[in-house]
Amino acid sequence: MLFVELLSNLLLLTGGFFYLAGTVGLLRFPDVYTRLHTLSKADNLGLGCLLAGLALKADSLVLALKLLAIWPLTLIASAVVGYAIAHRADRLGIPAWQREKP
Amino acid sequence: MIEHLSTPLVWLILLPLVWATLAFCLGPGRGALLGLSGLGLQLLCAILLAVEVAPKQTVTHLVGGWQEPLGILLVADGLSVTMLLLTQAVSLPVALYAYSYLKQGQHWFWPLTGFLLAGINGLYLSGDLFNLYVTLELIGLAAVGLVVTGGAAGQVTAAMRYLLASLVGSGGFLLGVALLYGCFGTVSIRLLTSLIGSQAPLAVWLAAAVMVAGLLLKTALFPFHFWLPPAHGGAPAPISALLSALVVKASFYVLLRLWLGPFAGFVSPLAWLPALLGSLAILWGGCQAIRAERLKMMVAYSTVAQLGYLVLIFPLFGTGSHAMQIGLLQATAHGLAKAGMFLAAGTLVKASGSELIDGIATMAGRLPVTLFAFGLSGVSLMGLPPSGGFLAKYMLIDAALAVGHIWIAVIVVTGGLLASIYVFRVLRLAFLGPGDERQVALQPVSAVMEWTAFMLAVSAIVLGLAAMPLFRLLEGVAG
C-alpha cells in the first residue's frame, strides 16, 4: 500500500511540474507555434500524470477507469485543436502572435 | 373530476401557453383564429374566476399539491382578479384589431402575444417570488419580441434598449429574491409577509431597495422611463396598446404586492419617495407629450405621465382612505383608455399615411368613429366626468385633501390640465385643421379597427358610472 501511495504522490508532483512548465512556456514562448507545443505536449503529459496519480488513490476500480478515460479524450481534442490553430495561423501567414482567433 | 379540471385560475395560464405554442408551430403570421378563440375562453375564465372570488375573497391553488415553503401557491384575490379582467378585456379587442391591422405576413404577433399573456396572467396569480421572476422574464422577452414586429430599424434600437432595461430590472428583482431567501429560507410571499417585521436587517432593506428599483425600471416610472417612449411609440399600434395598457401594469402590480405585503412593516415611512417620482412623471410626461411631433409618441409620453398617478396612492395607504380602490380604478381606466387611444392613433396613422400629429388635420369628418374614440379616451385621461379616469382622480384628490397632502391634489389637477392640452391639440387639428389643400386620399381602414378602439374608449367612460362592482371585488384586499 505504501508503495502505491508513494507512486501516486510522485505522479501528482510530476504532473504538477509539467503543468508549471507548460504555463511558463505559454507565457514566455515567442509565437503561436511554439506556444502550442506547451499546451499540447507539456500540459497533456501533466494531465496524464495527474490522472494516473488520482486513479491510484481512487476508491473503486470504476472511478479509476473513469479518471483514466479523461486522458484519451483530452489527447484527441488537443491534437485536433492544436492542429486547427496551427493550420489557421499558417493560412493567415503570420507567425507572430497577434490574434487567438480569426 | 370535472370540478378539478374546470379551475379557471389554472386555465388562465395554460390556455395562452397552449395557443401560443400551437401558433408558433403553425408559422409566421398564422394562428389568429387560435389566438382569438383562446382569448375568448380566457375572458370567460377570468369572469368565472371573478364570480368565484367575489364571495370568498381569495381562491388558491397548490401547484403539485405541495404546501407552501416547498411548493408554489397560486392566489387569486380581488386585486389579482381585477387585473386579470382588465388584461383579458383589453387583449381581446386589441387582438381583433391586430387581426385586421397585421393581416398575414412575416410577423410572429400571435405566439408572442400568447406568451405575453401567459406571463401576465401567471404573474397576477403567483404567490411565490421566484415564480414571479420567471413570469417577469416571460413578459419582458415577449414584449421585446413584439416591439420589433414590423422590422423598422428604429424599432430594433428601441427593442434593444428595452431589453437591456428589462434585464437589469429583473436582475435587481432576482437579487432581492436571493437576499430574502438567504435571510428567511423561503420565497413564498405569504410566509415572508409573516416573517418580516418592522425591524428588518440590512440585507432585507437592500432586498427591498433593489427589488423596488428593478420594478420601477420595468414600470418605466420617471426617471426610469427612458426606454418607454421609443418602444411604445415605435411599435405597431395594437402592440403599443398591449404594452402601454397591460405590460407596465404587471410590474407595478408586483411592486404593490411587495409594498403592502412582505415590506409593509418598514417601508411605509418612505411612501413619499415613489409619490415624488410619480409627481415628476406626471409633469415631465405631460410636457413631453405636448411637445411631441409624432402622434404615437405623444400617446407614449402620455403613458409616462399616467403611470405617475398609480404611485401617487402610496402615501395614502394606511390612512383609512380607499387608496387601493383608487389605484386599481386608475389602472383599469388608464388601461382601457390608453388601449383605445393607441388603437385610434394607429387607425389615424394608417389612414393618413403620416405619423405626424399635423398629418391628421381635418380627419374628423372622414373617420368620425375613430376620432370619437380618440376623444373619449382623452376624456378619461384628462379626468373629465363621467369617465373612470375622472372618478379615480376625483377620489385621489378627495383622499389626499382628507389627510392633508395638498401637493398631491395640486399635481393631479396640473396633470389633468397638461393632458387636456395635448388631447385638445390633436382634436383641434382634427376638427379645425388647415384647409382643404391638404386633403390627401385616405388609405382604407376596416370597420373592426374603428369599432374596437371605440368600444375600449366607451368602456373607459362607462367605468366611471359603474365602478361599484370593482370596489366590491376589492373589499377583501388589504390596503
Binding site: - | V134, L141, V156, L167, G171, L175, Y181, G182
Partner: protein, 105 residues
C-alpha cells in the same frame, strides 16, 4: 468564513461589475457580456447565501438552473437584436446613430 459566504461576496462584486457594465459601456456585445456577469453574480449570491452554513440546499440550486437557462435565452435574443442593429445601421452601439443624426441636423 464558509465557502458559501466567500462566493456570495464574490457574487456581490460580480453583480455590481455587471450592472456597471450594462449601464455604462457602449459596445452591445460588451453589454451582453456584462449582463451575463451580472446574472452569474446573482446566482452565486443565491446559492452562496443559502449554503453559508455548509449544508447543501437543492432549492436555490434548482432555481439557478432555471436562471441559467433564462439568461441563455435572453442572451440569444439580445445577440440577435445586436446583429440586426449592425446590419441595419452598421453600428455596434445604441448611441452612435443618435450622435450621427445630431451632426447631420
Amino acid at each position: 468564513m464558509s465557502s458559501g459566504l466567500l462566493f456570495a461576496a464574490v457574487g456581490c462584486l460580480l453583480l455590481v461589475l455587471g450592472v456597471g457594465g450594462v449601464l455604462l459601456l457602449d459596445h452591445l456585445v460588451r453589454r451582453i457580456l456584462a449582463f451575463n456577469l451580472m446574472g452569474s453574480g446573482i446566482f452565486l449570491v443565491l446559492v452562496g447565501l443559502a449554503q453559508r452554513s455548509g449544508r447543501i440546499d437543492p432549492v436555490p440550486q434548482a432555481m439557478v438552473l432555471t436562471g441559467i437557462v433564462v439568461s441563455v435565452a435572453a442572451t440569444a435574443l439580445a445577440l440577435a437584436l445586436a446583429r440586426r442593429r449592425y446590419a441595419d445601421s452598421g453600428s455596434t452601439t445604441l448611441q452612435d446613430k443618435a450622435r450621427r443624426e445630431d451632426r447631420h441636423d
